[in-house]
């Protein structure tokens, strides 16, 4: 289990906290989404969690062991996919994975299989500097998997990818979870978070403003209504918005289902982005 308690971080040293009293826990095998706009403090938290940034105040622990006490072998168990592709540009895609894999003291995956997995097999011998932004993003994602990590830190893994490729990456993330991998997903893409995460935390101005499963957040903050569209003989297409917490609306909903030619039914729960705006007054992007 990963535990973050009362975490603070101040880059300036003048009491201007980029991360301000943040606490959360991530269970083993969970996908935990960290949602917030640029500058909210997402990357700072991730950098402290991975040991890139020095822990100033608070605590980050892995199975009870403080990040301060972790030695270099800790990195054998984690994989990090950065938002901005950071590759050895003079090396080919294959070489990037091969030499990076050589830094680990645990068995690593076959670079070619990983390239195949993210759709880069045909570009394996091309230098990374010749890759497009999306290809670089996929290569960085593949590199994060090379050591078969127990914990994955993914920073905007689907950013800049076309929908088909983004879906492929999301599938791999789900597969990793099924294999028991714990995933910390930093993103401002609410759809990806909604689709992938067991729980999400909303981060704004260095503080967590809400933390729960997407479903619970929607239930807690969304409008619990259903929009039903149905066809009538005389009046054509009609629609009803029903609040199912009300007895009368529940009855009407059942009647419509049983007696009418239903065209569409949409739950009126809010999206994660709408909830974020409701809680913070600002947009995610």
């Amino acid at each position: 289990m990963i535990k973050v308690q009362n975490l603070f971080h101040d880059y300036s040293g003048k009491g201007q906290f980029a991360v301000n009293d943040i606490s959360f826990e991530i269970k083993e095998g969970e996908i935990f989404g960290f949602l917030g706009p640029s500058g909210a403090g997402k990357s700072t938290v991730q950098n402290i969690m991975t040991g890139l940034l020095k822990l100033q105040r608070g605590e980050v622990s892995y199975d009870g062991k403080s990040v301060k006490d972790l030695d270099s072998s800790f990195y054998n168990n984690i994989g990090v996919s950065f938002e901005h592709p950071n590759l050895y540009t003079k090396l080919t895609g294959y070489e990037n994975l091969k030499y990076y894999g050589g830094l680990f003291n645990v068995p690593t995956l076959d670079p070619m299989e990983l390239l195949d997995m993210v759709g880069l097999r045909d570009s394996a011998k091309k230098k990374a500097e010749a890759y497009s932004k999306g290809m670089k993003q996929r290569l960085v994602f593949a590199r994060a998997l090379i050591n078969n990590p127990k914990i994955l830190f993914l920073d905007e893994p689907t950013s800049g990818l076309d929908p088909a490729t983004a879906n492929k990456i999301k599938e791999i993330i789900k597969q990793k979870q099924q294999q028991g991998c714990t995933i910390f997903l930093t993103t401002h893409n609410m759809f990806a978070a909604d689709e992938l995460c067991n729980r999400v935390a909303f981060l704004n101005d260095g503080k967590i403003v809400a933390c729960d499963s997407p479903r619970n957040l929607k239930l807690q903050f969304g409008e619990k209504s259903v929009k039903v569209e149905y066809q009538t003989a005389n009046e054509g297409l009609k629609k009803e918005i029903l609040f199912l917490e009300k007895e009368s609306d529940r009855t009407l909903f059942n009647q419509l289902i049983n007696t009418k030619d239903i065209q569409t039914i949409h739950s009126q729960e809010a999206t994660l982005e709408q909830i974020f705006i409701k809680l913070t007054g600002r947009e995610l992007a």
């Binding site: 890139l52 072998s73 540009t89 030499y99 830094l103």
Partner: protein
Amino acid sequence: MTKGLMNLFKKDLVIAFRNALFWVLIVTLILMIVTIKFLIPDTQEEEGYRYFYDKSESKLLERILVQSGLEEKYILKSSEEVEAAVEDSPQSVGIIFEGSIEKPRFAILHQQEVNAYQKKMIDVSIEGLMASLAGVDRSRGYEIQYLRPIAEPVSGKLTAIPSLLAFEVLILGFMFVAVFMFQEKEEGSIRAYRISPSSTAIYILSKTLVFVVIGLVYGLSLVMLTMGFTVNYLIIGLIIVLGSILYSFLGAIVAVFFNNISEWFVIGTGLLMLNMSPVLSHLYPTFSPRIVTMMPSYSILFIFNETMFPTGKSITPWIISLSIMTAIAYIICYMLVDRKLMKEGH
């Protein structure tokens, strides 16, 4: 550790080969070898060129020169021949003797302006010739004792090799380690390294090893193709290794304070120029202020010089001081790279 080091070394070597600067280096090496081998005149030989023509009727000077063992090619038969010979060889001097033993007259032919040193040499030559003509015994009234065995005369063009090794080959590490670091900072790959289990020591040593290998190939090629097999390659190799290691560490110590080559340029090249000041001590041994002799390039230059052109001096103290400097440089390098390159938020 060895597996990790070798893996990173291979990676850095591949990147080095794909760097345009590496190929500039190879071309420079070839140019240096060609220049030393074929373009720089061997001043040692040229200084000895003196052409004589005895215009006197008795031809006494000619006889004396032949008796003294001077090769006949330096004794010419006419003033025109002397002029032509001096014309062909800019460093040579033509001496034409006319008149008699009682009233000798010498004409000196030289292409360029005669400097004070050359003038003294000509004076001494003429005095010697006049003494020979007069039958005076000019054997010395003193004895010279040498503290060490007399060194073999050194071919002028080869004296440049120790300087080239010290200021061309060894500083590769100083410059290239900076180039590597800036590239990794720019592309962000250093961030990926930071979250791997590999250590700061391996990061430093892998790069150092690359410059040791390049330095060895570069340096040994230069020495072998210009000097042949007349030098002690064990010592030369040892100093190239030690010097490359030291300069790679020094290069990293400086480079961690900058983000790109533009920021580094003024300080980096300034330090390299300062590092070259021992070449003055090499050319003018009386110039050896403490600040110059304390520079690592001073020790390195004089070890190379002593190894290639032995004068009997001991190089052990220099090697010891170089080893101590390398050990201290590693400690500083490790602390700075670990603090400024392997962590973020500084």
